[in-house]
Amino acid sequence: MNIDVIWTLISLVLTLFIFSYLFGDNPVFRIATGIFVGAAAGYFAVVIIYQVILPHLVVPLIQGSILALFPLILSGLLLTKLSPRLGRLGNVSMAVLVGSGAAIAIGGAALGTIFGQVRAAIDAFGSQANTSGTSPLLLGVEGLFLLAGTVTALAYFNFGGKEQAGQAPARVAISAWLSGIGKFFIALTFGAIFAGVLTAGLTALVERADFVIRTISTLITG
């Protein structure tokens, strides 16, 4: 039997095992997930070794790079995280990761999203859409809609409140009004996202169903 057929059969069996979850949790489903977890972890480990550690650490060390000693030390400290007793030694390595990640998040959020999206919100009435030939009135309405959605959705994330005697804190009037509208836009966006999740899953279902049909068909027809 061809090795590819074996692989395909394995794939078919695993697919059916997973679909058995529609009837509830069962042993075959757990078998499939167990194999998946182990195999994915094993492949991930191999990829890390070959495509991260070797090119970024081992090869530079072999080439005599002194700078590579730093990640070597930091990596060694990071491995101490496996030990409850020595785990604190790995905090420095984690600090390098977290510190650089925090700086990346700050820089990216500021330069990538905030500046870009604020500018886009300001330019919502801009001319870029004019190239589509849409009427200026419709462009204006669309721009107003986008601007309103942006501002009000952002207002929704303002959780500042004003204390009222004997009552729970509440938003100030203008903030409450804006956030109320913002909730509409956020619900709209979440609806679109949820529809996207559903369609993505359904696409996966189509792909898996097609695989099952084709595989069974191949097995039957030889």
């Binding site: 390098v96 820089g107 959020a109 836009f185 619900a187 279902l205």
Partner: protein, 206 residues
């Protein structure tokens, strides 16, 4: 104060990386680029640590302790070592090793996604029974509307100019709210990053 050295390291590293966004000076970049490379190595090692902990700290431990679910752990451990040994010997680019992804990982994950879609569809049936406020109704209607948009069955509208315009406009509906959400996420990331850099939050301390 826990691990002030770690806090100091996080601040220094973060400051160098952050300043590099705004000051593209060559000396600064000469420091910043290796730091980012170290972070790549550390991220890889962090993944390894996570895997080792999963295998040895969880599943092999379960097997040793003979817990009721040790059969599942046996599967995990065996499949891990088979793939790992084969991968180390053959390399990750070997087609036989990549078949692990193609014929094991991909079908299982894709099937899980398909099952998730069915589960979500079932859950959607009862959505309005639990969330019958105006925001829930907006969400409900938006979900239905964008399902139709995504399905592409509104193609017939191409022959009706007004409808075509409306469909095109509807395509832009979620953009305003999404932009507001993105700005909110960015502001939150900004605040969180600053808190980490100044040491107010120290997720690196265990």
């Amino acid at each position: 104060m826990k691990s002030p050295v770690a806090a100091f390291v996080a601040f220094v590293i973060g400051a160098i990386v952050l300043v590099g966004y705004f000051i593209p000076a060559a000396p600064l970049q000469a420091i910043r680029t290796p730091i980012l490379d170290w972070a790549i190595v550390l991220a890889g090692f962090a993944g390894l640590v996570a895997i080792l902990n999963l295998i040895f700290g969880v599943h092999i431990k379960r097997i040793r302790e003979k817990t009721p679910r040790q059969g599942f752990s046996w599967l995990v451990v065996i499949s891990f070592f088979v793939v790992f040994i084969a991968g180390v010997i053959l390399g990750p680019t070997n087609p036989n090793v990549q078949n692990v992804v193609t014929y094991i990982q991909f079908p299982i994950e894709a099937s899980l996604m398909a099952v998730l879609a069915i589960t979500l569809a079932y859950a959607s049936l009862k959505f309005l029974q639990r969330q019958r406020n105006w925001m829930g109704i907006v969400f409900f209607v938006a979900t239905l509307f964008f399902l139709v948009v995504n399905s592409g069955i509104l193609s017939f509208s191409s022959n009706i100019p007004v409808l075509r315009t409306l469909v095109s406009a509807a395509h832009q509906l979620p953009v305003g709210g999404a932009r507001g959400i993105l700005l909110g996420i960015a502001l939150g990331s900004l605040a969180t990053g600053i808190r980490i850099l100044i040491g107010a939050d120290r997720p690196y301390n265990n």
